[in-house]
Amino acid sequence: MKKIITFFASYGFAVIILTLLTILTLFGTLEQANSSLFDVQNKYFNSLFLVHHIGPIGIPLPGVYLLSTLLFINLTCGAIIRVPKEWKKPGMLIAHGGILYMLLAGFVTYHYSTSGQMTLYPDQRSNQYASYYEWEIAISELADGLYGKTWVIPGESFTDMRPEDTREFHQSGLPFDLMLEGYIPNCMPQPASGDEGVEGFKLTARGPEMEAAQNAAGAYAMVISKADKKAIDSGILWGFSQAPWVVAVQGTDYAIELRHRTWELPFTITLNEFIRDLHARTSMASNFESVVTMSTPGGAARDVNIRMNEPLRDSGYTLFQSGWGPQNAGPDTKLFSTFAVVNNPADQWPLYSCIVIAVGLLIHFLQKLFSYLRAENRRRAS
């Protein structure tokens, strides 16, 4: 056991991990010139293993996720071995503790945070935010044009499908099952001829977009009666469609839509005004600002200004000013405001770890500096 701990705590192991991390960061950075950040993150930084191609040659490499885990082990083992021996170097121990804390923050963020966006026009309100990349299928009862009970099919149960695959989804409480016939990660509905597609439209696959959030997923869907397993209706689900596909089953209307994964906030945001200031006589923005009212279910409400570098933090959620539109707006066009919404239990951990690391490094290198100055003085004296 001691040998294993010694190996994992060794400088050699640390050097290998850090070198590989440097190389992977370089590869992942260069790759961004050709691929979307989302794809690069998944390939290099969120993976256990990957194959990097230099021309026709494929090089197998460990992913950053795996290397970060190994680095965590390296630091922990190092602490077990060195803390008793190196208490005279408190700075190094503190700094390494800070790095451990930061790696932990990364782990918690990766596994337990949610992030998405909320777009509002002035006077609109919402308590939901939608993922940039993840998809889900929502089936809602419709009554008098209003949404009632909603069933959700999570993205992980269908986004692995290939265009030629079919899969059936059963939801208790629904009088029908939903069958997906093929899933396309990025596609565009286009008029079809002959027997192609559904009701005169087909989905045409496209390559991945440079901005992964612009990928529009789609699938052919069929509603099948639970009672007699007969097809009731067929339709197209497309991520960017303006209206849901509405199906009538046993006298009830159901809205079926493929949408970005959606979460609810514990409060509601109403956009009162969006302000976009430009530097005089330029098209360069000097300020983006949303004046919002945040109201809780209990009825409490407060006005908040959300602007660049000044987000709204409440109940573990953070809302950032991230965008506006439409981009081609005229002087009298109403502008919408987009907020990035993040729920991250480790939100402020990097700040705390930064303070710990800075203090540790400072103590250590001040010790080093003083010993260097003493050595130089001795040398010059001799």
Partner: protein
């Protein structure tokens, strides 16, 4: 005196004294007096979202077109930016013969169908380019549709030249409105305000038209429908006539608005459009327009021109001062006129020469006392320059890429001087002068290449002095350390390679301590700076870490510093390995500082640059060679350490 003698002796004198200057300056052009130049230089204008001196505006316009800050006419007159700009504004015909359009590639000119000069990079006059301008604009429209990353050199050159022609065209037409005479015929209420047969100037026409408009708005019922229709038609015609010449006067916003809460300054075109849109111009706006309008007609009468300019200057400066927008103008003028950065650059060169001389005379004591002083002077100038920029902008030292160069250079030099103060090995001072010289050269080249104001307005995300002062400053200290450790590593490798001071172990020990110390110093700042960047990103963009290229560059510096330090602690590398690693670290720092900007992706779009990839590739290639030379030293060490065959035999016997 006979006539032949008169011809022989007097005529050449007449030609020399009268005719040559006339030819040199053009038929109606004499040099601008210092007072005129000074009055124009100190005028405030609004450009790029900020108020700056006319002098700064002229400098960067000239730099954009001409590629440098001075221009010599065919007559031998050396024009600085403001006199050049005055020629462009007041003597368009003459300035159109100035060869001040720099073109890096004659294929661009060839594509326009214009006769090329012999040299690939050459300067052309507007007159020379004029026949091909229509073709140039067609090509520019076509090439603008191509993604900037996919554009070829000629395509980009066409776009650059088209931009420059557009700017020049705006400048030469800026005062064109002053020639116009406007009148309204007939007997409408408006026509009655224009009794002069030969018309009035634009400012007077505007003043009268807005006065009539005001009266009509006040008493609309005094007029029957026919009369109203007639006056509306006259207004429409007059405003149409005014709009044409005025709309070309958009290049310089030099009229401060009279309303305190209005941020945008006005161009002559703005004053006209305000009137046309039915809004009353403040009297002071019309007054400034009138004074500006008079100047072109007075250009040949310099005393009268100076007097008119003085009153215009007083009015503009007075209003700008009232608005609290003039206070930084004298400081900015002082910054550019003081040439702190320019002198710093050349004094660093001089100090490096002095360092080189000190190597030739190692026993001379005085030179070793003088050298640190020689490095300190340009360092002080550089620090003064950086400080002035902070005061001008009310910002921390770094908010643009250009300022990173100044700051990193100053930091690297100061750290080197501190090390020299501590160890007196005469290595760090040499490195200080070299880093200073190299850094200032890069700053100069960058400013020349970009040719845009180096103190621009900042985008919304950068509008935070707290993060600029913390994250940006700290991370750039880390960059400085990365470059400095790489520089000292070169000294180590070359010293070892050429066996310089090979018996002096203390020299090498000291050099190693310097490299190691700076690596540690850099690691603190890079680590804290990188994490602070993440915390800023968490406040701005909603995530601590997004694997953005700029963030990754900073992370790579931290990771590689850790690799070197851990490899040294684990004794996997020795001194030569640390030096090789430090050179790689400098290469990574260059990648993070400049290389990632070339990718053109990510959220740090305010740092994008282009066209320096070749320089970076040359730099990295040379560094690979130096690392290879380090490998030779390492091999030599290894072979020297291992006993030779003869030694083994001797030992055996």
């Amino acid at each position: 005196m006979s006539i032949p003698i008169l011809i022989r002796r007097i005529l050449p004198l007449v030609i020399a004294v009268v005719l040559i200057p006339t030819l040199a300056f053009g038929a109606d052009r004499e040099p601008w007096s210092d007072e005129i130049v000074n009055l124009f230089s100190t005028l405030p204008v609004q450009d790029g979202g900020r108020i700056k001196p006319f002098d700064t505006f002229a400098q960067f316009a000239m730099l954009q077109l001409n590629g440098k800050r001075s221009f010599t006419t065919e007559g031998g007159e050396r024009l600085k930016p403001v006199p050049w700009m005055l020629d462009v504004l007041f003597y368009p015909r003459i300035s159109s013969t100035y060869q001040n359009f720099v073109v890096d590639n004659y294929d661009v000119v060839s594509a326009m169908g214009v006769k090329i000069h012999d040299k690939r990079r050459s300067r052309y006059s507007y007159k020379e380019l004029e026949p091909g301008i229509s073709t140039l604009m067609d090509l520019a429209r076509e090439y603008a549709a191509i993604d900037s990353k996919a554009r070829g050199l000629v395509q980009q050159g066409v776009l650059d030249l088209a931009n420059n022609i557009f700017l020049y065209d705006q400048l030469i037409n800026f005062l064109g409105f002053s020639n116009g005479r406007f009148t309204v015929s007939g007997d409408s209420a408006l026509a009655q305000a224009f009794p002069e047969e030969d018309g009035v100037t634009l400012s007077v026409a505007l003043e009268r038209a807005t006065a009539v408009l005001g009266e009509l708005k006040g008493n609309p019922s005094n007029m029957d429908t026919d009369a109203l229709n007639a006056v509306v038609a006259d207004f429409s015609k007059l405003f149409g006539e005014l709009e044409g010449p005025a709309m070309r006067a958009q290049a310089i916003a030099l009229f401060p608005p009279a309303q305190p809460d209005t941020e945008a300054w006005q161009t002559p075109a703005d004053v006209v459009s305000t009137a046309i849109s039915g809004v009353h111009n403040a009297p002071v706006s019309l007054s400034m327009l009138e004074k500006l309008e008079k100047l072109p007609a007075l250009r040949a009468d310099r005393p009268a021109f100076t007097t008119a300019l003085r009153t215009l200057h007083e009015e503009i400066v007075g209003l700008a001062t009232e608005r609290g927008e003039y206070s930084k103008i004298p400081l900015e003028l002082n910054y550019y006129k003081g040439k702190y950065i320019f002198y710093s650059q050349w004094l660093f060169v001089l100090s490096f020469v002095l360092v080189a001389v000190s190597w030739l005379v190692p026993r001379s004591k005085w030179i070793h006392y003088v050298t640190p002083l020689a490095v300190s002077v340009p360092t002080l100038l550089l620090i003064i320059g950086i400080t002035m920029r902070c005061f001008i902008r009310d910002r921390p030292p770094i908010s643009t890429l250009y300022e990173t160069i100044l700051f990193i250079t100053a930091t690297a030099v100061l750290v080197s001087l501190f090390i020299e103060y501590v160890n007196r090995q005469r290595v760090a001072v040499a490195m200080a002068s070299f880093m200073g010289m190299a850094g200032m050269f890069v700053a100069y080249r960058y400013e020349m290449k970009e040719a845009v104001d180096t103190m621009p307005s900042l985008g919304a995300v950068l509008d935070t002095n707290f993060w600029l002062a913390t994250h940006v400053t700290i991370i750039n200290i880390g960059y400085a350390a990365g470059m400095l450790s790489g520089g000292l590593a070169h000294v180590y490798i070359f010293s070892r390679l050429f066996k310089f001071k090979k018996e002096d172990k203390e020299y090498y020990r000291s050099l190693n301590r310097m490299i190691y110390g700076i690596l540690c110093f850099g690691l603190i700042f890079s680590t804290v700076g990188t994490i602070l960047g993440g915390i800023w990103a968490n406040d701005s963009w909603g995530r601590f870490w997004g694997w953005d290229p700029k963030e990754n560059g900073a992370l790579m510096i931290v990771l590689w510093s850790l690799v070197i330090l851990h490899a040294k602690m684990g004794r996997y590398i020795k001194d030569i390995g640390v030096s090789q690693g430090s050179i790689i670290l400098a290469g990574i720092t260059a990648f993070s500082w400049w290389g990632v900007n070339q990718l053109g992706v990510g959220l740090h779009s305010y740092g994008f640059t282009s066209g320096i990839m070749n320089a970076l590739v040359v730099y990295w290639t040379l560094e690979v060679l130096v690392i290879g030379l380090g490998g030779i030293v390492w091999l030599r060490d290894r072979n020297g350490a291992a006993p030779t065959k003869a030694q083994k035999e001797a030992a055996a016997s």
